[in-house]
């Protein structure tokens, strides 16, 4: 578990083998290629495979085939010419059917458009033949943008007469008439006003109503023919699907490998490229590459203490914690050589969510929903839902809450030894009567998490040999001593009545750590033997460090108080479920259960789950990022992006 150890891999060989070498690296899905820093060669030639690939891909899309990767070892040695011949044959076959299909579709579209226009001319009571046979007058059928109708007044004396038949907000359908000898002028003028002419076929010589009927029949007939062509295309697709997908995969592999050459150095008949691979898989990759003629591979494990700046980070966690890597990536990956906080996030996230959203029924439902979503989608939140739902159910058992009903299971705090231990003289009936205890418990959780985060920071800094940070910083030993001391003193004084703020206690455990934090920079320089880069005046030093100290002290208080929300949400959940019970009418003993009660109860539960589940999820994430990560985590790592052949992206 943690951050994968990386190895730097350098591959060299004869330039004829570069595509094969790159293909092996892509197929391993565990090799991230790096740019050659001192590459001096110019741009590479045009990709010889991309044209064929694009052509075949568009043919596949036209056939409705979604590209998916297939094994293509059978055609691995084919030349571009062989590929071209096979693709041309497929294209020719498909093109013939498609051309007919497109012509038919265009014809149907035209007929539909004509019919739409004719439908707007139903007010016309003469036949089209009579109109088109007029000797001295030409007429055009079509539509004009409605806003241009007002411009026609301008041409009132230009021998154009527009007769509108139907008007919609944006268009006016109608006919314009013009003397035969000015038809050319009228056409160009109406075109400049964006008149869309609709040409009626010669056989449509009846009146508008009859023409409409003829067109409807014609559209029906052509649609039947179009269906037949679609069937032919479908048959061709089923018969050639495997062949097309295999060819497409082979071409995609070659196209992508050729593109990857940009990141390699090719010179004097030799190639060289480098990259990173997880150490545990480096030998397997090297063995595969070594099988290629004349290809040499050098593996250099990346040092944890002094890693290169561009080393990528790959997290490796077990199946339980893995989904929570999403949150860590969201904040920023850890630096190489530091530690992966995923397990810590997973445990704290689940615990806090469970406490804040404790309900057996709702928890199990969230878990089930997560399971179903994981099965059918790739949403990263789904597996997290499965896990947090179980914690929610577990805490629901403690609270005795099943879909907000608190009478099915005996709540934990109803046991006599528990409420007596918590200091109550009689059993609290509801969670609201135990609110103070709950909020104190939330604060205690917060204190434990803050102390843990500071401990992590201290240990990590010791490991990195940053002793100044580990000993004197707010999140180091000094801060830890101050925080634990002040919390212990406050708890002792206010909860147990013991006055712990004695002068010795205050000076040794509170003042001294603060002074140490105040002088963190000079003390760090002293123990590391480093001279400060620039001199700071005494005034500036005091102001800067006082403000930092003040901010640190304030952050201890605000961070601790921030955890009150854990208790707050427990109460809010109970409150919301109380409202649901009241709306459903089930809050009184012996209430009658009706259909409407059940419906209100179900809807209420779903609403609470939706609103509160989301809110709690966000609030816990906020606690993780702001109160926990801030104290020890530096997300400065770069994601591991292995090269691969995939239809999902073009690179």
């Amino acid at each position: 578990m943690g951050i994968e150890k990386m190895s730097q891999i350098s591959v060299e060989g004869s330039s004829e083998q570069i595509d094969n070498a790159l293909l092996i690296c892509c197929e391993s899905r565990n090799f991230q290629m790096t740019d050659i820093p001192d590459k001096t060669s110019g741009g590479i030639e045009q990709n010889p495979w991309s044209g064929a690939y694009e052509t075949l891909r568009s043919t596949a899309e036209a056939l409705g085939i979604t590209p998916e990767f297939r094994s293509h070892s059978g055609i691995a040695e084919n030349t571009p010419e062989e590929f071209r011949q096979r693709i041309e044959k497929i294209n020719a076959d498909v093109a013939t059917i498609r051309r007919e299909h497109e012509e038919m579709a265009a014809s149907i579209r035209e007929l539909r458009q004509t019919d739409a226009c004719v439908k707007h001319l139903l007010g016309l009571d003469v036949t089209f033949r009579e109109l088109f046979e007029l000797k001295y007058v030409k007429l055009r059928v079509g539509r004009l943008p409605a806003e241009n109708l007002q411009k026609l007044d301008y041409y009132a004396n230009r021998c154009i007469h527009f007769v509108p038949f139907d008007q919609k907000p944006d268009w006016v359908w109608g006919i314009y008439l013009t003397p035969s000898d000015t038809a050319e002028f009228a056409d160009s003028l109406m075109k400049s006003l964006y008149f869309e002419r609709i040409r009626l076929p010669d056989y449509l010589d009846q009146d508008a109503r009859t023409t409409d009927e003829i067109l409807v029949h014609a559209i029906d007939d052509e649609e039947k023919l179009d269906c037949e062509l679609e069937r032919q295309l479908s048959e061709y697709r089923d018969a050639h699907r495997d062949e097309i997908l295999t060819l497409l995969s082979a071409l995609k592999s070659r196209t992508d490998c050729y593109e990857l050459r940009k990141m390699a150095l090719i010179s004097g008949g030799r190639f060289s490229f480098t990259g990173y691979c997880p150490t545990r898989l480096a030998d397997d990759l090297a063995n595969s590459l070594g099988k290629l003629d004349g290809v040499q591979v050098v593996i250099v494990p990346v040092s944890r203490k002094n890693p290169p700046a561009d080393v990528p980070i790959k997290l490796r966690n077990n199946v339980i914690f893995r989904p929570f890597e999403m949150f860590v990536k969201m904040y920023g990956l850890p630096a190489y050589g530091s530690f992966d906080p995923t397990p810590y996030v997973a445990v704290t996230y689940c615990l806090m969510f469970g406490i804040m959203f404790g309900d057996v029924g709702q928890g199990l439902l969230v878990s089930l929903l997560g399971l179903i979503l994981s099965k059918f989608t790739k949403n990263g939140l789904a597996p997290i839902m499965t896990r947090i739902g179980l914690f929610s159910a577990a805490f629901g058992v403690l609270y005795g809450s099943v879909f907000g009903i608190e009478t099915l299971i005996t709540p934990f705090f109803h046991r006599e030894n528990i409420w007596r231990f918590l200091g109550y003289t009689k059993q609290p009936e509801t969670i609201f009567q135990a609110a103070t205890t709950l909020l104190i418990a939330a604060l205690m959780i917060g204190i434990v998490l803050i102390v843990l985060s500071m401990l992590f920071n201290t240990i990590l800094n010791f490991r990195r040999r940053k002793f100044g940070e580990a000993l004197f910083s707010v999140n180091g030993v000094a801060g830890l001593v101050f925080y634990i001391s002040i919390v212990a003193a406050a708890a002792g004084t206010f909860m147990f009545g013991a006055d712990m703020f004695s002068p010795a206690y205050v000076i040794c455990l509170l003042v001294v750590p603060l002074v140490v934090i105040f002088f963190k920079h000079p003390l760090s320089n002293l123990i590391s033997g480093v001279k400060p880069a620039e001199k700071v005046s005494v005034g500036n030093f005091i102001i800067e460090n006082f403000i930092e100290l003040f901010e640190a002290a304030l952050s201890f208080l605000s961070n601790t108080m921030s955890y009150l929300r854990i208790g707050g949400f427990v109460l809010s959940h109970a409150g919301m479920m109380l409202v649901v019970a009241q709306l459903a009418g089930t809050n009184t003993p012996g209430a009658e259960i009706t259909v409407s009660t059940v419906i209100v109860f179900i809807i209420g539960n779903l609403v609470v789950m939706g609103i509160e589940g989301l809110l709690v999820g966000i609030q816990v994430l906020r606690l993780e990022f702001y109160e926990i990560f801030n104290r020890f985590y530096d997300g400065s790592g770069k994601d591991f992006r292995p090269i691969e052949i995939s239809f999902g992206s073009e690179k």
């Binding site: 007002q150 944006d170 006003l193 964006y194 869309e196």
Partner: protein
């Protein structure tokens, strides 16, 4: 005060929301690779910016001019919606937009009479402007001579500006460049007056700075064009919009000495007009528009004054519309996608 603050915030939020619907560089690139105006229209119809305006078109048969007219209308309707939405700032901005469009139409009318192609006026007249303008724009198209035009414009601000030039044109050749200069000078003067009247405090200072910066960039283009025609810096200054931000006479003189766009870019950077782009600009117009666009985008995101944000939005939308029209023109003439992309200001 609270109402004003609310109005300010709502205009800022709305402006940024409208800006957020702008076509991205990737979308413009996809648009460039369309092979016909019909495909371009289909593509634009599926973008959030132009979806509503093009919902009812038939992409297969649409005429380029009609498509461009619809795009103009789509952008104009955004400004109109701001006028209805906000009764304070957007109203005088809207008047300025109408004045600019009217100015363009008056110039087309003059050009039409000069060329003997008066019909071009009526075809290019945006229908949405007819009802918004106080000028009788449809009647203006009926002018067949400068005397007709003079008579139709009499009593309007355009009439008083152009009267001597139109009177002169009745007997000799019309000086269109001078007409243009006078009309645009008046437009900028009127806009500046409106700005002084309608804004106050820091909002006024900031908007004035943004406005004058954009004027400076337009003046840089005029200055470089004048240089190409062999004008002296003094003569070039006379042709410019009479407002300056950083472009003083010394800067103009220096700019006119620069041999190419790269050196103009360096000179402008010294004046504080920088660009983050490392691209090479083919023409000075592209450079200045790029500098302005970067500034408008930044100001639109950061400013807290609604009038400044809205002004930047207007400029950004104009640029977007210009880009889309350039692409449509490029597609129409079969220019390769890469070359069209190089012509755009992104």
């Amino acid at each position: 005060m609270h109402d004003m603050a609310f109005s300010q915030n709502s205009v800022i939020a709305r402006s940024r929301a409208v800006f957020g619907r702008s076509l991205t560089a990737a979308e413009l690139e996809q648009l460039c690779s369309r092979r016909s105006v019909a495909e371009a229209a289909e593509f634009l119809r599926n973008t959030p910016r132009f979806h509503d305006a093009l919902a009812d078109i038939e992409p297969r048969t649409i005429h380029r001019g009609q498509l461009e007219a619809l795009l103009d209308k789509a952008v104009f309707s955004i400004f109109d919606s701001f006028r209805k939405f906000d009764f304070t700032q957007s109203k005088w901005f809207f008047r300025a937009i109408i004045t600019r469009l009217e100015t363009e139409q008056v110039l087309i009318a003059i050009q039409g009479i000069a060329d003997g192609s008066t019909d071009s006026y009526i075809t290019s007249l945006p229908p949405f402007l007819i009802e918004k303008s106080k000028l009788d724009l449809l009647s203006l198209g009926k002018a067949q001579s400068f005397a007709d035009l003079r008579q139709m414009l009499s009593g309007t601000r355009y009439g008083s500006i152009l009267d001597p030039l139109l009177h002169e044109a009745e007997t000799s050749k019309v000086n269109i460049r001078e007409c243009e200069r006078r009309l645009y000078t008046d437009y900028y003067l009127t806009t500046m007056k409106a700005l002084e009247k309608n804004c106050s405090g820091s909002a006024k200072t900031e908007l004035k700075r943004v406005f004058l910066r954009s004027v400076d960039m337009k003046n840089v283009v005029t200055c470089c064009r004048m240089k190409a025609f062999g004008f002296t810096p003094r003569e070039a200054s006379a042709q410019m919009i009479p407002f300056r931000y950083r472009l003083n006479s010394e800067a103009i003189e220096q700019l006119m000495k620069q041999p190419d766009t790269d050196s103009i870019a360096r000179q402008l950077a010294e004046l504080g007009f920088r660009t983050d782009s490392t691209a090479e600009f083919a023409a000075v117009e592209q450079l200045t528009e790029h500098i302005s666009l970067e500034f408008f985008r930044r100001t639109l995101r950061l400013s807290r004054n609604s009038s400044t944000v809205y002004f930047c939005l207007i400029e950004c939308l104009d640029n977007e519309l210009h880009n889309v029209k350039t692409i449509i023109e490029g597609i129409r003439y079969g220019v390769p996608a890469k070359e069209i992309m190089e012509m755009l200001v992104i």
